[in-house]
């Protein structure tokens, strides 16, 4: 059961993180296309936001790993 739960959880995490980072990429590319001279600032903000989303996703992944080993 723990293995099954971890697998399902990892899939849902991937959906959430992929959706979130995809949104960031979409808005960032749109803004760079609209205002190419601000691309350096936009890239910085993009990496920062992606890192924050990644943090949440990785905490979920750690829960899945704990499920595999301890449940």
């Amino acid at each position: 059961m723990g293995l099954l739960a971890a697998g399902i959880g990892a899939g849902i995490i991937a959906i959430g993180a992929g959706f979130g980072i995809g949104m960031i990429g979409k808005s960032a590319t749109e803004s760079i296309a609209r205002q190419p001279e601000a691309s350096a600032d936009i890239r910085g903000a993009m990496i920062l936001t992606a890192a924050l989303i990644e943090g949440v996703a990785l905490i979920g992944a750690i829960v899945c790993i704990l499920l595999v080993f301890f449940a």
Binding site: I47, L48, A51, L52, G55, L58
Partner: protein, 345 residues
């Protein structure tokens, strides 16, 4: 003509690469049939340092109920009779409990390598600047130029952009040191026989704890007011907000530690797993297909290595950037919040 001979050369090279391996695989005795490749053993902390295929034992320092034990290696600890080895762990022979195990491990050694290299490079360049080279004249040589490039990047793009102007100067040494040391630690994992020290939660947690202490130490009055007495909200809301803010103080460094740890660990596990496919194929379909799949898998691993080198530097950048953001958020003297609280009051 050149094209054809080049193709022939590549084919011959691939044959020379594959043929000895097929022979070697067939002649080698199989030790552990059940586990073709030990994935977690590649990322675990060890009590020895692997250099060129040899295992260099590292000293063991163990405190057992008020009594200190020092040994040169795990073997000498067992030979002395005070300890017994069970499941790769040392247990006192007379049934006492280990209070604390301060043994020097491979990950600790790689942390020291990373930090030592950072200190060495920094002092080398600092000596040059003290002589006036770079201050009065322009920086000389690729090494000083590269160093200045990285330093200016950390100072301007990370520190100055996120920490209030008048305070950022004092955090640049920490941010620069963390950036370079984490980069080195991440990249050491790519060396043959190297270990990624940052693929260990204790290492990243220590780094995140340093950021946490610096953040709270430099927290402004405004920062603490936002934690304990959030301005501009009804007072009953504080019952909910204050616990959330206090938890928020600790989740930031926790996420910082987990992010670096999970990224480095997953990179390492991915490489070991994909290389392990060769052995799994060899086990299921025979040695020829196993080694033949190496032609496909080895270039894939090379691509992953390049990706991992990029991710290693990127994660060091993200760690430094988020440290700077957290320090900047805490150190900021919020002037603009007054309007909000007055508007509500």
């Amino acid at each position: 003509m050149i094209q054809a001979s080049r193709r022939l050369l590549v084919a011959v090279l691939i044959f020379f690469f594959a043929a000895p391996n097929i022979l070697a695989y067939q002649t080698e005795p199989e030790e552990e049939k059940s586990v073709p490749i030990d994935v977690l053993g590649q990322v675990r902390d060890h009590h020895y340092l692997t250099v060129a295929g040899y295992e260099l034992p590292l000293p063991r320092i163990i405190l057992v109920e008020g009594q200190w034990y020092f040994f040169g290696s795990t073997d000498s600890a067992v030979e002395s009779g005070a300890f017994v080895e069970k499941n790769h762990q040392l247990i006192p022979a007379d049934g006492r409990e280990i209070t604390i195990d301060l043994s020097i491990t491979s990950h600790l050694m790689y942390v020291w390598f990373g930090v030592g290299l950072t200190l060495l490079l920094t002092f080398m360049v600092a000596a040059r600047y003290k002589r006036g080279e770079g201050r009065e004249t322009e920086p000389k040589g690729w090494f000083q130029n590269l160093f200045e490039l990285v330093f200016v990047f950390v100072r301007d793009e990370i520190a100055k952009a996120n920490i209030p102007e008048e305070k950022h100067q004092k955090f640049v040494p920490y941010l620069f040191g963390v950036f370079v040391a984490i980069s080195f630690m991440n990249l050491f994992g790519l060396l043959p026989w190297g270990a990624t020290a940052t693929a260990d939660i204790t290492v990243t947690a220590t780094l995140a704890a340093l950021t946490f202490i610096i953040t709270q130490w430099n927290g402004s009055r405004d920062h603490w007011r936002h934690v304990f007495w959030f301005p501009g909200v009804p007072s009953w809301m504080l019952l909910i907000l204050t616990p959330i803010e206090i938890i928020g103080l600790f989740t930031k460094p926790f996420a910082l530690a987990v992010r670096l740890f999970a990224n480095m660990l997953s990179g390492k596990i991915m490489i070991v797993c994909i290389l392990g496919l060769i052995f799994i194929f060899a086990e299921f379909f025979g040695a020829t297909i196993g080694v033949g799949s190496g032609i496909l898998i080895v270039p894939l691993t090379v691509a992953l290595y390049v990706l991992k080198a990029f991710v290693g530097v990127l994660q060091a950048y993200i760690f430094t950037l988020l440290s700077a953001v957290f320090i900047g958020m805490a150190a900021e003297e919020g002037e603009e919040h007054k309007e909000g609280s007055e508007a509500i009051a």
